[in-house]
């Protein structure tokens, strides 16, 4: 029909897809539970309820295949014997998969995939229970198609009428008890009516319909007898009542005229106080007959016209329909929020411009009384801006549970493939994380979990030999740490054998044997993130880890997060993904190197130290600084000062923690802290991975944001190659480096 209607339908379908996805997730969850506690009636009920909801929703959207399949499944779940069947969890898993595939097909508007495997399973279960639902399904199908075809419906009224004619004259034979009750009512002077009600053929629930008439009648009189008797299971479409009432036949008929349920009512006066006393009454004259008016109305009601090919549930609504929905949830395109966030970013730049101007003003007119007013206004604006930023960020935040919920099924499936029993323990699932970050880490975490199950956790026999419980455990947890969110995947498997990683790395020519000998254990573990080491199955032999680990690393780097490994041979391995709360805005420390402005995330700076050049020592081919009682490796971003007095040259050292590493960055000058709005840099705008983004300062200057994990990696790599000169001059351009590079100093070492 009109586009407005199509749009609404499309929107409704969108909601359906979303909620259906939730239902499938729940189905998976319950199936997992059922697998642990087979035959638990409560879980089976929940599963049935989920399938039922899915069925209803799908039917309302006009998705026949899905709703019918769900219907069959629901029927089977209702069978006592079937619900105790041991294969039920498997059926539920298959159902979740098949339903999921159907949904995907609907969404992409492609042909619905084969549902045969699930149908077979359902059928097998029904047979097992000695009850084949197939005919039932047919029935349901027929019913639907009947009510769906307007043509049938048009004629239905007439046909119904005809077919009921012979039955209409029917009068039940009351039993002795009922006769007594009738006689008693008559003696009391009540009027006795015979009510014959036709249940509408479109009413799918005749027994409920009958109950409704019964309720209506008992409100105006006393029901002395009903035919068919209560408890009769067959779906009788004609119901008879003997009612004692002091109302008129018309009133009674009107009362029974229940729309959508009763198509025709005939009320006859059997006898009154003055009439025949014979309880085996003659056939009464129908004195009030009402045929469903509503049925006629339905014919031209616009809504009964089929909407596309579907069972239509939509009605045109006012444009404000969404606004008045009570649960107040708004579905917004992520892009719109990003736009707002972008504008907030611009505002922050604007704020620092103002701040800058104000500083200049204060310098120029130190005694002007306007200064205080400006400062107040700035402070207020700053506060509001902060709140605004936080609020917008919050919109983007979702609990990690959204992601975590997928993993129980994954672990079960991978565990089955490997023949291992693995339990998943989840904690901190309510920790919030930026949606785009959450989406981005889905793959890495899947990877880590897969690896943990297939390689990390040993077989049951091996575990028992090692004195561990035969079932492995994987702990998945999320928590806040400073300004970051940490997602940890921890297994209690065999751990990573560092020696073998090292051997392998040397064999593959990634590092030299000498360099390898110098590596600390954590540096060795970092090798598993190298692409070279992660390709083939040798990794499985080597360490039980590594397939696609470089992917994990690269995703984390893109997110400006880090990944750390901690392993305990024989006790297990933990991967910690440290993620920024959000991608867009960081609190940064600004500094200068070679007169250029750079920034790093303030959260990664542990400490700032001042020292002079002569405090930096060369040990073992690297520059170090002794800071109180610890020895820090140094990364020199600029070039070494030259000249006789370079030893007294003042420098700043930023003590950085990145992942589990701690090191010092040698910089020339500090510029202070500031909130920076990160602007992504195109790949062709910059040729190094050491810089991950840029930002604009209040005064228009551009600042480069340093990518710490790349700096660290660069630094370690240059050591493996033992190329002589340490991380020095890392940020220099090629031209700057060659003529002036600190080669003498390096050679000296």
């Amino acid at each position: 029909m009109s586009t407005g209607r199509d749009e609404r339908m499309a929107e409704l379908r969108e909601i359906f897809f979303e909620s259906a996805q939730e239902l499938l997730q729940a189905l998976n969850d319950e199936a997992l539970k059922l697998e642990k506690e087979p035959g638990d009636a409560e879980i089976v009920r929940t599963i049935r309820r989920i399938v039922h909801t899915l069925k209803g929703d799908a039917a309302a959207c006009g998705y026949r295949e899905l709703s019918e399949l769900a219907h069959d499944m629901e029927d089977v779940l209702a069978l006592q014997t079937a619900s105790a069947h041991t294969s039920l969890p498997q059926v539920a898993f298959t159902a979740a998969d098949v339903f999921g595939a159907i949904l995907t097909a609907y969404r992409r508007r492609v042909k619905v995939p084969s549902t045969e495997p699930l149908r077979k399973m359902i059928h097998a279960m029904a047979e097992y229970a000695g009850n084949v639902p197939a005919p039932k399904k047919k029935l349901a199908g027929n019913k639907t198609s009947r009510s769906k075809t307007p043509a049938t419906r048009d004629s239905a009224g007439n046909r119904r009428e005809e077919s009921r004619v012979p039955a209409r004259a029917r009068l039940a034979a009351w039993n002795e008890y009922e006769k007594l009750a009738i006689q008693k009512a008559l003696r009391q002077g009540k009027k006795l009516y015979h009510v014959l009600a036709d249940i509408d053929l479109d009413c799918g629930m005749p027994i409920a319909g009958r109950q409704l008439v019964q309720v209506a009648l008992s409100a105006i009189g006393e029901i002395l007898a009903i035919r068919p008797e209560a408890g009769a299971s067959q779906a009788e479409r004609l119901v008879e009542f003997a009612v004692a009432s002091d109302q008129t036949a018309e009133q009674i008929a009107a009362r029974c005229q229940v729309p959508t349920v009763i198509s025709k009512v005939t009320v006859g006066l059997i006898a009154d106080a003055t009439g025949a006393k014979d309880p085996n009454f003659a056939i009464p004259h129908p004195i009030a007959t009402f045929t469903s008016e509503s049925a006629a109305k339905l014919e031209h009601s616009p809504a009964s016209q089929p909407l596309s090919e579907s069972e239509d549930d939509q009605q045109p609504t006012t444009p404000s329909h969404m606004a008045s929905l009570a649960d107040n949830i708004l579905r917004v395109d992520a892009e719109r929020i990003d736009n707002v966030l972008n504008l907030v970013g611009e505002l922050i730049i604007g704020k620092s411009m103002l701040q800058q101007t104000l500083n200049d003003f204060a310098k120029r007119f130190p005694k002007d009384h306007m200064r205080g007013k400006f400062a107040d206004a700035m402070a207020l604006q700053g506060r509001v801006l902060n709140d605004l930023q936080r609020s917008v960020m919050k919109i983007r935040m979702v609990p990690v549970e959204q992601l975590f919920r997928r993993f129980p099924r994954l672990i079960r499936d991978v565990g089955r493939q490997c023949g291992k029993q693995v339990e998943l323990v989840i904690s901190g699932q309510h920790t919030d994380l930026d949606k785009s970050i959450l989406d981005a880490i889905a793959e890495p975490i899947t990877h880590l979990i897969r690896n943990a199950v297939s390689h990390g956790i040993e077989s049951a026999e091996e575990r028992q030999r090692a004195g561990k419980s035969p079932n492995g455990t994987i702990r998945l947890q999320a928590y806040h740490q400073a300004n970051q969110v940490v997602v940890e995947v921890r297994d209690d498997g065999q751990g990573i054998n560092a020696e073998r990683v090292k051997t392998r790395a040397v064999e593959q020519g990634m590092i030299t044997a000498e360099a390898a000998a110098q590596l600390s254990e954590s540096e060795i573990l970092d090798l598993i993130f190298q692409p070279g080491l992660s390709t083939a199955e040798q990794i499985t032999e080597v360490s039980g880890r590594g397939v696609g680990m470089d992917v994990v690393q690269s995703v984390l780097r893109r997110l400006k997060g880090t990944v750390e490994v901690e392993t305990n041979p024989g006790r297990g391995t933990a991967f910690r993904l440290k993620l920024p709360l959000t991608l867009a805005i960081i609190k940064a420390l600004l500094f200068r190197v070679e007169h250029r402005l750079y920034a790093i995330a303030l959260s990664s700076v542990a400490e700032i130290a001042r020292t002079i050049e002569s405090e930096i020592h060369q040990v073992d081919n690297r520059e170090i600084l002794q800071l109180r009682n610890q020895v820090l490796p140094m990364v020199r971003l600029g070039r070494l000062p030259v000249g006789a007095d370079h030893g007294s040259h003042k420098i700043f050292v930023l003590v950085i923690t990145s992942g589990d590493k701690k090191f010092g960055l040698i910089v020339d000058q500090l510029e202070g802290e500031q909130e920076l709005v990160i602007k992504a840099l195109d790949d062709h705008a910059i040729s190094t991975d050491l810089v991950s983004g840029a930002s604009i300062m209040g005064d228009g200057r551009v600042v480069m944001i340093l990518n710490l994990s790349a700096v660290v990696e660069h630094f370690s790599r240059s050591r493996f190659k033992s190329s002589g000169v340490l991380g020095s001059g890392m940020l220099l351009s090629h031209e700057e480096r060659s003529p002036l590079g600190p080669i003498d100093r390096g050679a000296q070492a």
Partner: protein, 146 residues
């Protein structure tokens, strides 16, 4: 676009207020749309029977549309509890064919009517008018209280 003639409360000519109870968000939205096309107003929504009871107490709706199968407390029990507290409550059960016995049980416990899922707007409209009886009137599109 076609619209049902708005049904308003007889006593004050205000829109009829509904409480929608269903564990499916989708089903709730769907019903909400229909209700609005009847000129009604969603007073509240609930996803389970327990919430339905508290929401009834809080909002005193004119009509409750109640699903049968829900977590925490099923529709029948919730309907029964609401009717016990508020005999005037008009509860319409909304469910699919497979739950006929439950609907019968709910009707015995005080629910006023039922509609079958998937809900057809015209059917629901008729049911609503029937259930409201004299307490509501169909107004013309101008919205003048009857």
């Amino acid at each position: 676009m076609e619209q049902f003639a708005p049904v308003r409360r007889s006593k004050d000519g205000q829109p009829v207020r509904y409480l929608i109870v269903d564990d499916s968000v989708f089903a709730r939205k769907n019903l909400a749309r229909m209700i609005e096309s009847f000129g009604g107003q969603v007073a509240s929504e609930a996803g389970d029977g327990l919430t339905a009871i508290t929401e009834y107490d809080r909002t005193s709706p004119d009509i409750v549309l109640m699903d049968i199968t829900m977590p925490q407390m099923e529709g029948i029990e919730a309907a029964e509890k609401i009717v016990q507290q508020h005999p005037e409550a008009r509860i319409v059960m909304v469910s699919s064919v497979g739950y006929q016995e439950n609907i019968v049980a709910a009707l015995q416990r005080g629910a006023r009517h039922f509609v079958q899922k998937p809900v057809k707007p015209d059917v629901l409209y008729e049911v609503i008018k029937y259930v409201l009886g004299d307490d509501a009137a169909v107004t013309n599109a101008a919205g003048a209280g009857a």
